[in-house]
Symmetry: C2
Subunit: 151 residues, 2 copies
DNA sequence: GTGCGTGCAAAGTCTTTGCAAACCG
DNA sequence: CGGTTTGCAAAGACTTTGCACGCAC
């Protein structure tokens, strides 16, 4: 098992909010810790966990993802492919990362970008908003799809 | 009818791609030109047009929205409320505008923000992506919901 | 033991599709 | 007139919900 310390942190965050740390909740989190692909849909998680836990239900996966999102353990993402995707909300990685989405093949790549100092303040001042989070999606064509389009 | 010139422009863009400018397609576009709310869902559009066009089908609205998005007349948006929303892709307003989304009441406010000169080039260089468009979503709490949270 | 959490199936919501009829150009 | 486009209804895809049982604490 990778990242046992990370799992401990996640368990503490669940228990400190008085939720139970069930086997199902653990294996859903483990899927995110183990997965090379960071952006998992409910079906993705379900597929990953049901081999070792054949009795887990898809509804439970959905309920876990919703709970974890509300606890800020996960972030819910939408890449326009008709299903919600989730990624670990790794607060230790404090640089904000965003997503490049290929319009050709749907591939998603992450990139780092920190907004200008002062932008947050300016938006908050201009609009009276108290900012919590932001997501930047950049659409375009990846190298491979650019080549294909030339053919 | 407001913006007859805008409608003409839209019609030309449709016809130049060899699609037919049907009554249904016109009234769907008209809904966007007339609406005070800029971010319309398929159901929103359907509700707006069916008074004057009781025989229009919801499926036609969906098909029109999809077509217009592919023609870059509309932009497809996702605010996490479980349905797709669309807004006019007004290329004459060339400053990029983005969205503030209230986590309390769901209200969406637009704001302008132009990314730093050079950021686009840097992303394209670093990742081999050819950038077409970008969407920035900022989540937080609007003034009213900040007050409510204090009660 | 108690109450939160789960599995299953059914229902719900949004969106897409098949097909005959209608319509634009 | 011919190929697009439409309406309707049905199907499809994703997600949520009701309820009895089971498990964490």
């Amino acid at each position: 098992m990778k990242n046992p310390n990370m799992m401990n942190t996640l368990r503490e965050r669940i228990k400190e909010k008085k939720y139970k740390f069930t086997r199902q909740r653990q294996v859903v989190l483990q899927a995110f810790l183990d997965s090379r692909e960071k952006h998992l849909s409910a079906e993705d998680v379900f597929a990953m966990v049901k081999d070792e836990n054949p009795d887990i239900g898809l509804a439970t996966v959905y309920r876990s993802l919703e709970l974890f999102t509300s606890l800020d353990l996960l972030k819910k993402l939408d890449f326009g492919d008709g299903r919600s995707r989730y990624e670990l909300n790794d607060r230790s990685l404090n640089r904000s990362h965003h997503h490049l989405i290929c319009l050709g093949c749907g591939k998603v790549v992450e990139f780092s970008y920190d907004f200008q100092e002062g932008l947050k303040d300016q938006i908050e001042r201009d609009n009276g908003f108290q900012i919590v989070d932001s997501q930047l999606k950049v659409y375009g064509y990846c190298r491979e799809c650019q080549k294909k389009n030339l053919l």
